[in-house]
């Protein structure tokens, strides 16, 4: 087929032609490299030349071809964020913040959903598909520290969330034990004595669950309260449904006699699920059962009642994670893996301290 790129007028000389450095250079009357220098802010360029080049760039509406740039530079400018599920509010909020933080470094974020499955998480650990990503921010759910140590891909990685301590990679975490202790102590401070916990997990990978359970136990011990195994509910996942079921089990188990008078849920979704069960069965929250969660997701701020929770500084978390990753990508800090703690605070809302919700309006 005749593709007369030459000069023939016809339907327009540059009908389908992506402008490149070459075109800008020709128009500005300088070399290709000089244009490249201007684009990249190289210092040793005469103001005169720079102006001329910039004019040409604007005139042609030139945009650098990132594929070419990346090929040449050996980097892609893209980092991946791998989370279990985007439609879990905590991860959605996190994703948003990570994207914002990465933008400040000129990085673009590619979001990958693992579904929390081991298989998919392993794929992610081993260089996602065949993509060229410069770094990985990873919030694994099913992988153990050993799995991660075994990874062969050498893309820099920062672990997110609260898992795998002293593992093979940098990570940014909240102080789970302390936070869980605080939440539990708050419930105790309300005068509650039969305090249940929802969110324990058996899986060896469930480090978060273990840490939060530890904090819960520490609080009980500190207050001189007995630890009652029957008040601890395990869950399979951290969704609303799991929380609802666990709460039902707790209520069923405490045959009439003495239901828990407070519940600490290891995340907000569990708490929202538990709340649903409590209200369904006619328990008044917080009057009869006080309820606290963990994560401070949007939803918790608008339920009825609103949810008391541990609020990790998600923004700090995201910024630290990106900073750490950028540092690794730059090649510095080759040695020790770092572990960074971010702040958290207890946010007290109606589910533990709120005014009573009127039962009838008249």
């Amino acid at each position: 087929m005749g593709d007369q790129t030459g000069s023939t007028s016809a339907t327009g000389p540059e009908e389908r032609h992506r402008v490149g450095l070459k075109d800008v250079a020709r128009l500005a009357g300088v070399s290709v490299k000089t244009v490249s220098n201007v684009v990249n802010g190289y210092v040793h360029v005469t103001p005169r030349t720079r102006a001329r080049v910039e004019q040409a760039i604007k005139e042609l509406n030139y945009r650098p071809n990132l594929s070419a740039r990346n090929l040449r530079r050996g980097r892609s400018g893209i980092i991946a964020l791998a989370v279990p599920e985007l439609d879990i509010p905590y991860f959605a909020e996190l994703a948003r913040l990570v994207v914002d933080a990465a933008e400040k470094h000129g990085l673009t974020v590619l979001i990958d959903q693992t579904g929390g499955t081991r298989e998919r998480e392993q794929q992610v650990a081993e260089g996602i598909r065949d993509h060229m990503i410069d770094g990985l921010i990873f919030s694994p759910l099913a992988l153990t520290a050993d799995d991660l140590s075994a990874r062969t891909d050498d893309t820099p990685m920062v672990l997110l969330g609260e898992r795998i301590h002293h593992g093979p990679a940098d990570h940014v975490v909240v102080h789970n034990v302390a936070a869980a202790r605080e939440a539990t102590l708050h419930l105790i401070g309300l005068g509650r004595r039969r305090i249940a916990a929802i969110g324990a997990q058996d899986s060896p990978a469930a480090e978060t669950a273990r840490l939060r359970l530890t904090g819960y136990h520490q609080a009980l011990a500190q207050a001189g309260l007995p630890a009652d195994e029957r008040l601890i509910a395990s869950v399979e996942a951290y969704h609303r449904a799991d929380g609802a079921r666990a709460m039902a089990r707790l209520l069923d188990a405490s045959d009439a006699g003495d239901p828990p008078d407070a519940v600490f849920c290891f995340n907000d979704l569990l708490a929202l699920g538990a709340l649903r069960t409590l209200l369904e069965r006619g328990y008044a929250v917080p009057e009869e059962v006080a309820l606290a969660g963990f994560d401070d997701i949007e939803d918790g701020r608008y339920g009825t009642p609103t949810l008391t929770t541990i609020s990790p500084d998600k923004q700090q978390l995201s910024i630290q994670a990106v900073d750490l990753l950028v540092e690794r990508m730059s090649g510095a800090t080759l040695g020790a893996t770092q572990e960074i703690f971010v702040d958290h605070r207890l946010v007290i809302r109606e589910s533990t301290a709120g005014r009573t919700v009127p039962l009838r309006h008249r």
Copy 2:
């Protein structure tokens, strides 16, 4: 596992060397292009050669360099998904589905958050930053059809959600009018007569709001009910807070006498906000006020009461959007812009038809 694939011992011959086609070719004893052919599934390759190459690929753990491939091919394999905010559940769910749908076409999705601001949305419409994306799936909030017509970038684009009809680009939508009518008719069918609507908007860009309002009016007309302007509440945005405030205004306005006995909210977040206000003021839902939303987000399935809503087929929506975009990217269908409607259905839950929630458990 000792991987002395090469021969020299030392610290390894390929310590920091990214393996490319060349290396595989050398090992397999074939030309570079042949390896490329195998990688790309080109048909005319002897089973023998193919096997040898595949062996070499595995041995060297070769991964194609996407930057190079994209440079050569002139495409990036990346499409962008631009939504207002990731932590709005509807968009998070959508994002997840779009990512899944894109994966089936071998495409990677870059998610962009516009915050719903005009400025940012305009940037997105004009080729995001300087990134090389092959296509754009865009759910604008502030942009008008005129804004979009004015765009100079020629990256293929598909509009998502329910806006800008007969605009300058393909789009995938739910049938807002019909859906809103159905929801309202459902409320009417329950015997309700004073049916409020929350979610009207003044902005010229608010096409969705207009369409859903139309549906609401059609239903009233169809049932021979009078349209009462005082029962229609406008909102600034579609968040929980707006719904809560709007509901409060509606209740305040209907001085004691006759509050609405049903509310149709133009999305689920508004409904959740409204629900919060209703419960706070002691109204029984659905006994005194029935409540319906739109979107069918997760949250609505676990509130108390659970939320009746219009459930758009989000998966179909995502798949259609990606398919349409792929088609555009392939260069086909250059002419007319298409408008594709996806299915929806009314999901009836407790907020309109549920069993009564017991107020006390004993």
